[in-house]
């Protein structure tokens, strides 16, 4: 079989690739790119093989990306949690990516769902409370799992309990140092304060989704979560990191009373604690909340840098502007509040 050339259409390359994988002739139909997400290109398609039609999703590395993530980590995260929490079934991973020019993986498609934009007002309507309870119960179940028993252990190193915060902060602080084009005094002040006021050691090492929030799960419109998506920033660490990120005001759909636009924070914590078997220390949560703003600042700093360098992905320009400035304000307010409450 001839190798793919850059002139081949993506659907034809997919047909050849899947045909080799399955040892049968495959027809790819309805290949369509799905909007959203700047770290991977996402496509939906139907694969017709042996008289059967299979709904599938292709996740391919972009030419330039928002976050430098390892697709193997994302693939193994899906593999780790398939059957434990609602996620699509991962099918095949191509880290070299020769068949489609860039690394990619393919997973099963879950149909009939919707994913709101963070710009949406009250996206869950009358089902907000039901979705919120399920959202934080799922997150608690992720936190409860022992990473040593999951496939993700093969690609993610576990930090020590006392080093979780430092590893996370060192990583995102280095991203800001590397990518900032303009001095960011708020971010640097927050980083210094986070270092001087570290949280308590993690209670256990968990799988951290890394981007668990409204906008990264699919629901059926009737109060049921169908799939938790976008595991590209998954790693091992303190599970409170995910909780704090999900509580960030950026994802609350302009509703300060409900986290992720769903339920009050206290209720979300109670559900998470029940499912995870862990307790949330308020001071630790406060640390991870400020950290979340720093992490966001780092992501948007990179998106601005990538956009300025290339200009072809307008989503990077949007997040590097609008989202960056929203997070700057969240970060400044949180930092000031913590200092007023006694942070050194």
């Amino acid at each position: 079989m001839s190798s793919a050339t850059s002139c081949d259409a993506l659907d034809q390359r997919l047909e050849r690739y899947l045909g080799r994988q399955w040892g049968e002739k495959v027809a790819v139909r309805e290949l369509t790119r799905i909007p959203g997400g700047a770290s991977r290109e996402t496509y939906r398609f139907d694969a017709e093989v042996g008289g059967q039609v299979k709904g599938m999703i292709l996740r391919r590395d972009p030419v330039g990306g928002l976050i430098d993530t390892d697709r193997q980590t994302e693939f193994l995260a899906y593999r780790s949690f398939h059957g434990i929490v609602p996620v699509p079934e991962p099918l095949t991973l191509e880290p070299e990516g020769g068949a489609l020019e860039r690394p990619f993986f393919i997973m099963s498609r879950i149909d009939g769902g919707q994913v709101p934009s963070v710009m949406n007002l009250d996206p869950y309507g009358e089902h907000a409370a039901t979705i919120g309870r399920e959202l934080f119960a799922i997150l608690g179940r992720i936190a409860r799992c022992d990473p040593a028993t999951l496939p993700i252990k093969h690609c993610c190193a576990a930090p020590t309990l006392v080093e979780c915060w430092r590893e996370a902060l060192d990583y995102w602080a280095s991203v800001i140092e590397r990518d900032e084009r303009h001095p960011q005094p708020i971010a640097h002040a927050a980083i210094r304060r986070l270092r001087r006021n570290p949280p308590k050691p993690a209670k256990k090492i968990s799988v951290v989704h890394g981007d668990y929030r409204s906008g990264n799960f699919m629901h059926d419109g009737n109060g049921k979560i169908l799939a938790v998506l976008d595991w590209e920033m998954a790693h091992l660490g303190d599970a409170v990191e995910d909780l704090a990120w999900c509580f960030d005001p950026l994802w609350n759909h302009f509703d300060d009373a409900r986290v992720a636009g769903t339920i009050p924070e206290a209720e979300a914590i109670a559900i998470w604690e029940h499912e995870s078997g862990l307790r949330v220390d308020p001071a630790t949560l406060a640390w991870w909340k400020l950290f979340s703003a720093v992490k966001g600042c780092a992501i948007w700093t990179t998106s601005a840098k990538e956009f300025i360098a290339d200009g072809s992905d307008l989503l990077l320009g949007f997040t590097g502007t609008y989202t960056a400035r929203r997070h700057d304000r969240i970060m400044a307010d949180r930092l000031t509040q913590l200092v007023e409450e006694g942070w050194s």
Binding site: I34, I186, A189, H253, G311, S312, T321, R325
Partner: protein, 144 residues
């Protein structure tokens, strides 16, 4: 620094001028148009208020550094020498970068000296800087 209005508009033009690949039509193409509209809105907001926000921020940074700098070995003239040039966004941003670098040095020095008065003043200024820089887009009510 967030992308300039020129960079954002160039991105919009590039997005609209680039012919979509066959697999990029439909939902993705519609989302690109919506995104282009949102970015145009951001550019409009920045053009309306960007100069005023930067002039205010630079003046506030100069005043704070001039007042508090001498307590931490920073001559007041350092900030005063940094001018806003011709008040173009580029000139204001260049001045802003230098002033922000100075206030970061001052803030670190104040923290190390446990100068809580200056620390609090700087944090208060940061909150106001971020508040003024924030760009507000109206939330979208989903179609029922």
């Amino acid at each position: 620094m967030t992308p300039t209005v020129t960079e954002l508009l160039n991105g919009c033009i590039l997005t609209l001028m680039t012919s979509p690949r066959p697999e990029d039509t439909g939902m993705f193409a519609a989302a690109r148009i919506r995104l282009t509209a949102l970015v145009n809105r951001l550019v409009a907001l920045e053009c309306a208020d960007g100069t005023a926000v930067r002039v205010w921020e630079n003046a506030a940074l100069r005043a704070l550094i001039a007042e508090a700098g001498p307590r931490h070995g920073m001559p007041p003239g350092d900030a005063m020498k940094i001018t806003d040039g011709d008040y173009s966004l580029a000139a204001l941003d260049a001045a802003n970068a230098r002033l922000r670098s100075l206030v970061m040095r001052l803030h670190e020095a104040a923290e190390q000296a446990r100068d809580t008065e200056i620390d609090r003043k700087i944090l208060k200024l940061y909150c106001e800087m971020a508040r003024r820089r924030e760009l507000h887009l109206a939330p979208i009510k989903p179609v029922a």
